[in-house]
């Protein structure tokens, strides 16, 4: 199989690493075990600055880095098994090494009429990363996040021992690992339930919403009718079109619905990268004006309302993956993503935040708005019932720090939180408010890693 886009290194052949946002690189002793045995030998580490696991480096900030310590890249240990199943059950069990990516899984699963339980906006994430961030997708309102679908996993602890945990086996440790950002140990493999699908295509409805209220209302009234739902929102539009959005929702098509588009084999799956972003981008290429123009064109191009369009998995779920290395377009200063969730009863705060961002004139490509269902028991798991908004912002913008600090305060003020897998700048003192069960999580960590052998830049920065 063709090689996966490797985890990014700041400079090839050195051990400098950064996240998807390409900010704040740090140096580490990076190891790439090529077998499960080698992977297990990584721990226990005698190294004073500890060890952290790293998947495909798609977290935006410093979660998968460990300055001065060891980083274990898991992506060369990537086997998986699709278990036999009762044809009448809705799901099939899959056991995968932590380094297996959703991309590889889909190439095997889809042709067999299966899908992953949850997919993020990119398929280049590993199973380990999916668990450690407890990732969510367009189906969160119905299906919850990744760890809701995990039966069990093998975790190697700081002392080198391997334990099997799950919702029914040391559930405390299992849930501390769900969203625990790799800080409870190295996940070796996991067994999770994968849903059956009728074809490799989706039936998609698109609605253009003139402003924020309109899109929220559409989601509130109709999301329960769709398996998958997400809105792209133009945060540079101001005034009456503030929050204008394009909402796309869908479900998997049956074989007969898909047939007119793809022919006899309902499970054909092609997922390729079409183009590559140039390796070096001049600073300032993406400026306020170019992005404004892009957003405008994009909004105008969307149909006001379209029903029953047949779309492929890559088009519907992973449009950004068509451009390899698109994170480079932000130039040398890099970029960050800010993603928060706030409860539904704080919708007016959502309006305030969208308004503030639009008014700030701060450059942002399309942002993503989604309504979440209830969260799971993971004390550091991000999703919780409410609105979640995610936006990419180039880091060079003046006044960005104070702006985001102010917005964080609004989020915390209504009992919301930001997503650690995307974070690269939040104030550490806000964490206990954002994650009120942080202490519960810390107790579990204390139990399994009293000497803080497992360590990351994120953990250092936020004093986790």
């Amino acid at each position: 199989m063709r090689p996966e886009p490797a985890a990014s290194r700041a400079v090839p052949s050195t051990s400098e690493l950064f996240g998807w946002g390409r900010t704040a690189p740090t140096g580490a002793d990076v190891r790439r075990p090529t077998s499960p045995i080698e992977l297990q030998r990584a721990l226990p580490t005698s190294f004073e600055r500890g060890l952290i696991a790293r998947g495909l480096g798609r977290s935006y900030g410093d979660a998968a880095q460990n300055a001065g310590g060891t980083v274990i890249e898991t992506t060369d240990v990537a086997a998986f098994t699709i278990h036999d199943s009762d044809p009448n059950s809705n799901t099939v069990l899959v056991t995968a090494d932590a380094g297996a990516s959703i991309d590889r899984l889909l190439h095997a699963l889809v042709p067999q009429g299966l899908f992953v339980p949850v997919t993020p906006g990119t398929r280049y994430v590993t199973v380990g990363g999916a668990i450690a961030a407890d990732i969510h997708g367009k189906n969160h309102h119905l299906k919850g996040s990744w760890c809701n679908h995990v039966e069990s996993l093998h975790l190697q602890l700081a002392d080198g021992s391997v334990v099997e945990v799950g919702p029914d086996r040391d559930s405390e440790l299992f849930w501390a690992t769900a969203g625990g950002m790799g800080l409870t140990g190295v996940i070796l493999d996991a067994t999770f339930r994968c849903p059956r699908i009728g074809s490799s295509q989706l039936v998609v409805d698109t609605d253009r919403a003139a402003d924020l209220d309109a899109v929220c209302e559409l989601m509130r009234s109709g999301d329960h009718l769709y398996d998958y739902s997400v809105a792209w929102i133009d945060l540079m539009a101001t005034g009456k079109s503030m929050g204008r959005s394009v909402l796309t929702r869908g479900r998997f098509a049956s074989a007969s619905e898909a047939a007119p588009k793809i022919g006899a084999d309902p499970y054909v799956y092609r997922a390729n990268e079409l183009v590559s972003a140039p390796p070096f981008m001049p600073a300032g290429l993406l400026n306020n004006l170019s992005i404004r123009v892009f957003n405008e064109l994009w909004f105008r191009k969307a149909p006001v309302e379209r029903r029953d369009e047949i779309q492929s998995i890559p088009t519907f779920f992973h449009p950004l993956d068509m451009v390899r290395g698109w994170n480079r377009i932000y130039g040398p200063a890099g970029f960050l993503q800010w993603q928060f969730v706030i409860p539904f009863d704080a919708t007016s705060t959502l309006t305030t935040i969208v308004d503030e961002i639009s008014q700030s004139g701060c450059t942002s490509f399309l942002a993503v708005l989604k309504s979440f269902g209830e969260g799971n028991p993971g004390p550091l798991s991000f999703p919780a019932g409410g609105w979640t908004l995610a936006l990419d912002i180039p880091t060079g913008i003046q006044g960005l720090g104070p702006l985001l600090d102010r917005l964080d305060d609004l989020v915390v003020g209504v009992g919301g939180r930001i997503y650690l897998a995307k974070d690269s700048r939040v104030r550490p003192e806000l964490l206990p408010e954002m994650y009120p069960r942080l202490n519960e999580w810390r107790e579990v960590r204390e139990r399994v890693d009293p000497n803080r052998r497992i360590m990351s830049d994120l953990a250092r920065r936020l004093g986790l």
């Binding site: 700041a10 400079v11 050195t14 051990s15 400098e16 946002g21 900010t23 704040a24 690189p25 740090t26 140096g27 580490a28 600055r49 900030g61 410093d62 460990n66 300055a67 001065g68 310590g69 600073a283 040398p332 200063a333 890099g334 960050l336 880091t395 060079g396 003046q398 960005l400 720090g401 690269s424 700048r425 104030r427 830049d457 250092r460 920065r461």
Partner: protein, 253 residues
């Protein structure tokens, strides 16, 4: 740790009474910085600053630092790290300006200035770099001067010490690539401080606060070289290439 916007959580200032460094520290503290160590010759001289930082909730302390004692520099760095943990940033802010006429009359005084400005920067810069390499992260902020970009008849001793420091810091920065650590050069123009009191200001004269703003902005943009004010970058691209007779005339002002 440094964050995506260039904010740091801890800083060691070598030359802890420098007004430019203090203006930078004030901004760092207003953002994410919670730990500050000031390296100064006599700790008593930093009491006011220390109290100000502490009353702002910062964990602040001093270590004894003498640029003229290279043998102690590694120990100073260790002491600071012992006190506050990882050093996210080390600012090389010490330096003497001196008077060219005095240097002309007293070559030994000129040599001392070179020992502070250049030799001191070399030993403390390398000691800091060694620490940052083991940490796998951290930034050295080397404050040089536009006076080092092209030497002038009326302050070439100072200018040449800063030229040496500037070249050293650039090379150090290049050597650190791949380690996670960085070295950023800050080139201020003429700054109104105690050091320049009574002197005739050069064009685009600036203040410690403005320099600090330029530095914070440069760090956020991930710059390796920060001119303050930024216009000096353009100006000196031209000045550097002027024929010498013309440069002599202009720089004599």
């Amino acid at each position: 740790m440094r964050d995506a916007l260039g904010s740091v959580q801890s800083v060691l200032v070598l030359g802890g009474n420098s007004e430019i460094a203090m203006a930078i520290v004030d901004r760092l503290v207003a953002s994410r910085c919670k730990k500050v160590v000031l390296g100064v010759r006599s700790p008593a001289s930093a009491t006011t600053t220390l109290n100000r930082l502490r009353s702002a909730g910062v964990d602040a302390d001093t270590v004894v630092f003498d640029a003229l004692d290279p043998a102690s520099h590694a120990k100073v760095i260790d002491a600071a790290a012992e006190r506050i943990g990882d050093l996210d940033m080390v600012i090389l802010a010490f330096g003497v300006l001196g008077e060219q006429s005095e240097f002309n009359a007293n070559p030994v005084a000129a040599a001392d200035a070179a020992r502070v400005n250049f030799v001191g920067a070399v030993s403390s810069g390398l000691a800091a770099a060694a620490k940052l390499r083991t940490q796998g992260h951290g930034m050295i902020l080397a404050i040089t001067s536009v006076a080092g970009v092209r030497a002038r008849a009326d302050n070439f001793v100072y200018g040449s010490t800063k030229a040496g420091m500037d070249a050293f810091a650039q090379g150090l920065g290049d050597s650190l690539i791949g380690s996670g650590a960085r070295c950023v050069v800050v080139r201020p123009g003429f700054v109104h401080t105690r050091m320049t009191e009574g002197m005739k200001p050069a064009p685009f004269a600036t203040t410690p606060d403005k320099i600090a703003d330029a530095v914070i902005n440069g760090l956020q943009k991930n710059k390796e070289m920060i001119w303050a004010p930024p216009i000096l970058s353009t100006l000196f691209t031209i000045l550097r290439h002027l024929p010498r007779p013309l440069w002599r005339k202009i720089s004599a002002g």
